[in-house]
């Protein structure tokens, strides 16, 4: 009985969290699609929704989380003493975090001061440090210096002192940085009457969602009322529940006391590199089905019914055409999706997504094992979500709005939202199957181990909670990047014609996926029969892939840093009296994204 209750609680809690993840990411995606879609056309995009806050509340919103964070960190660190190697990892973690927060705060303040001019002696001091990007460069130097210092001092007397200093001063500096940044923000807005909260335009999709709730719920007079009302739910529901089979992070291990009882308040401090803890294990996944990925396809396939029903029940020719198009398109591309996945299943030897991720952690990302499968799957997944360039079921120029022509208000929003959620879920599945899910290159359950062909190059132990959190962040980042890739495709490509779509699905993608299965079969067979020599070659290959990934990731970070900190030179033209007036008042007041 107790087991069932705890299972139910776990199921509901994680299920709720996952559904919230998908829906919130879909809201953010709506925002990205509108706001960032405007960016590529050199427009600002919708950001008019604003919540006006009285200054004291805004100050509280700035200070509250910072105080909570500072007190929490300090309280945790000074009540939980650690010994041995954990001192070092704690020192490293908090000193790096503190440096990160310090330069971030410094950069934000400096750019604010630069934008509106100095107002206090502190502003003048910040301004004397130079451009905001110099603070950023200083931060980078500090990051690297701390890291190098910790490596150099590692195996000596100095190492212990260094670890002791960083593990006590790091958290304090972190708390100071958080409080200082929030304090400055609260101080600098003290004279404002009210503060507009726009969240970079994120309130706009929220306001739109709220608006759809209050719109007229129109049902066409001759429509099949029951099916008409049912269809949006049928399309919305599967999009939400498919994520149940995707794990969001590594299995979390809780500590057990002497009698073997699980202590929910405390995580296991460190776990072995291989194997999953048997006691106190919590899978960050709604259900661990043994059919795993088949569940995804089974449920995702029912989404077709919603679109087809909506088209049929609306009593509208355009809707009917849209519904038929949606059904045929989704059925066609479902085939390719399933067949490409068979190649992955042959490589991984399992249907369960978490075991696939474990395989990828031990070897390398699935996209290296099956590049063709990824391209095919990605194309099919974009087509599955019925979005540009595959938005034939709702082709505005041909059939008004396709299968949801007759829908208004929240029911329309549900179709609309289901599409975005389908993007999120497809991205999450692709991240899990092709991009290692929560596994990161060289990050294992007990820490970071870099090795090439069996020779260890670099080792550092990390606490269990940290590794799991890192994995979860990695998974979410991968999902976001894949979502963004789908959006970029949407922003770039024009719509296919219907026959082109069918030809692509049946005559190109389907044969390619069949060929992929055949090829994978031969290769897998060859590797399995080749014996241990081949295995070691494959191990080196996967190491090389991981190394490329890690170096590529670092290179991307460096590129990003350089890109963000390079200012652009612009030419001012004062030809008109308008421009002269604008120049006199110091330029047209330029707006940030948030304001």
């Amino acid at each position: 009985m107790n087991d069932i209750a705890s299972f139910a609680i776990r199921f509901i809690a994680i299920g709720f969290a996952v559904a919230m993840f998908a829906m919130n990411l879909a809201v953010v995606l709506t925002w990205v699609d509108r706001r960032q879609g405007a960016m590529i056309q050199d427009r600002v995009g919708p950001n008019r929704a604003v919540a006006w806050l009285p200054t004291p509340i805004a100050q509280g919103l700035a200070l509250g989380p910072a105080v909570l964070l500072a007190v929490g960190v300090l309280g945790y660190v000074y009540t939980h003493e650690v010994t041995g190697p954990e001192v070092e990892s704690r020192g490293l973690l908090f000193s790096q975090l503190a440096v990160l927060l310090l330069w971030l705060t410094g950069c934000v303040i400096a750019s604010q001061v630069k934008a509106r001019g100095p107002k206090s002696s502190f502003d003048l001091w910040i301004q004397s440090l130079g451009e905001p990007r110099f603070i950023f460069f200083g931060g980078l130097v500090a990051h690297v210096a701390l890291f190098v210092l910790s490596l150099m001092l590692r195996d000596g007397k100095g190492g212990e002192t260094f670890a002791a200093v960083t593990s006590t001063a790091g958290p304090a500096l972190f708390a100071f940085a958080a409080l200082a940044g929030a304090g400055y923000a609260a101080f600098s807005i003290r004279k404002e009457k009210r503060i507009g909260l726009r969240l970079a335009g994120l309130l706009h999709p929220a306001a739109d969602g709220l608006k759809t709730l209050f719109k007229e719920d129109f049902v066409p007079p001759n429509a099949d009322k029951f099916l008409f009302n049912l269809a949006p739910f049928i399309s919305f529901f599967p999009a939400l529940v498919v994520l149940a089979c995707v794990p969001f992070a590594d299995t979390l291990c809780f500590a057990t006391d002497a009698s073997g009882k699980i202590q929910l308040g405390q995580l296991a401090s460190s776990v072995p590199r291989v194997g999953v803890c048997t006691e106190g294990a919590l899978k960050i996944q709604v259900v661990d089905l043994n059919i795993g990925i088949l569940y995804f396809f089974a449920i995702a396939g029912t989404g077709i019914v919603g679109a087809a029903l909506a088209g049929w029940a609306s009593d509208n020719k355009y809707s009917l055409l849209g519904g038929l198009r949606a059904a045929s398109q989704m059925v066609s591309y479902e085939v390719t999706m399933g067949l490409t996945m068979i190649g992955m299943i042959m490589v991984y030897g399992t249907l369960q997504v978490d075991k696939m991720i474990l395989w990828q952690q031990e070897n390398t990302w699935g996209v290296f094992a099956q590049p063709l499968a990824f391209v095919l799957f990605f194309t099919a997944a974009v087509a599955e979500s019925k979005r540009i360039p595959f938005d034939i079921p709702e082709g505005e120029s041909e059939i008004v709005a396709g299968y949801f022509t007759e829908y208004a208000g929240m029911k329309f929003a549900m179709f609309f939202f289901a599409e975005y959620i389908a993007v999120v879920t497809a991205s999450a599945l692709m991240a899990a199957v092709f991009f290692g899910g929560w596994s990161l290159p060289f990050v294992f359950r007990d820490g970071i181990h870099v090795s090439l062909a069996g020779t260890p190059l670099f080792d550092i132990a990390l606490p269990h909670g940290g590794v799991v959190a890192l994995g979860a962040i990695g998974f979410i980042l991968k999902t976001i990047v894949l979502c963004w890739l789908q959006l970029t495709i949407r922003w770039t490509l024009p719509r296919f014609r219907y026959d082109q779509l069918m030809r692509l699905g049946w005559r190109n993608l389907l044969p390619a996926s069949l060929a992929n299965i055949l090829l994978t079969g031969f290769v897998v067979m060859a590797i399995r029969t080749a014996g241990p020599g081949m295995e070691s070659v494959m191990a080196v290959l996967s190491n090389v892939c991981n190394l490329v990934l890690a170096l590529g990731g670092l290179g991307l970070l460096v590129w990003f840093a350089v890109f963000m900190s390079t200012p652009r030179k612009r030419k001012q033209i004062l030809a008109t009296s308008s421009a002269q007036y604008a120049a006199e008042v110091g330029g047209t007041r330029s707006l940030r994204m948030g304001a």
């Binding site: 960032q36 960016m39 590529i40 056309q41 050199d42 427009r43 600002v44 750019s111 934008a115 970079a200 970029t488 495709i489 922003w491 770039t492 490509l493 890109f563 963000m564 200012p567 652009r568 612009r570 030419k571 001012q572 033209i573 004062l574 008109t576 009296s577 308008s578 421009a579 007036y581 604008a582 120049a583 008042v585 330029g587 047209t588 007041r589 330029s590 707006l591 940030r592 994204m593 304001a595």
Partner: protein, 218 residues
């Protein structure tokens, strides 16, 4: 019968033949072009998002020839009107803060839209200005009726009414809010922030006063 075959068939055309575009695998699969398009999209995306997030976007008025986002986010950002823009009216002040208007009704006469209403008042007995000029008891402009032709400004002999505020009528929610009374019209400063005009006024009785008045006589 012989047919001149030379006159039939295609005529010879001189010129350089244009090579047909190659339709190799790259063109047929679209993939290289799709990739190229996505690179362009991403370039705009990253550049513009970065500049928006860091508050480094172009000044839409001063730097509008540059690449990037040049949208004017009205009302937070405004493009200043050019110098000769005819905006909302203002009534200029004398040194003592009273209106320069002498209620001669030239402007309301010149107004093709008949949007100016003036009630003239006489100065009290004994005032040096009495009999020389009058003052507006009421000066009302219906800004909805106004066609912003500027005839009133041209007609005014005293430079008392000007349209150099550089402001347009804000969108109010009822018609009576567009009917601007004297107090409001006197509250708008000019583009330079002053309530006076560049033309000095010489009050009757002052030595610099060029004209004729009761005190100086003929």
């Amino acid at each position: 019968m012989t047919v001149n075959t030379k006159s039939l068939g295609p005529r010879k055309v001189s010129g350089v033949p244009v090579a047909r575009s190659q339709r190799g695998a790259g063109v047929q699969t679209y993939i290289p072009e799709v990739a190229r398009g996505m690179v362009i999209v991403m370039k705009h995306f990253f550049q513009n998002t970065k500049e928006m997030a860091l508050g480094q976007r172009n000044d839409p008025v001063l730097e509008s020839i540059e690449e990037g986002i040049n949208t004017v986010s009205y009302p937070e950002q405004r493009r200043p009107y050019p110098t000769r823009f005819r905006g909302l009216h203002r009534l200029t002040h004398r040194d003592d803060g009273s209106p320069r208007c002498v209620a001669c009704l030239c402007c309301s006469t010149a107004c093709p839209a008949q949007c100016i209403h003036i009630e003239a008042g006489e100065y009290p007995e004994g005032d040096p200005k009495r009999g020389y000029e009058r003052f507006p008891k009421r000066f009302v402009i219906d800004e909805l009726r106004c066609v912003f032709c500027g005839f009133c400004v041209e007609a005014c002999p005293c430079d008392a009414i000007r349209m150099d505020t550089g402001m347009h009528a804000a969108p109010y929610d009822s018609r009576d809010q567009f009917i601007f009374e004297k107090d409001l019209l006197m509250n708008f400063p000019g583009r330079d922030g002053s309530f006076a005009t560049a033309n000095p006024r010489h009050e009757p009785g002052e030595p610099s006063h060029p004209g004729i008045d009761r005190v100086h006589g003929h």
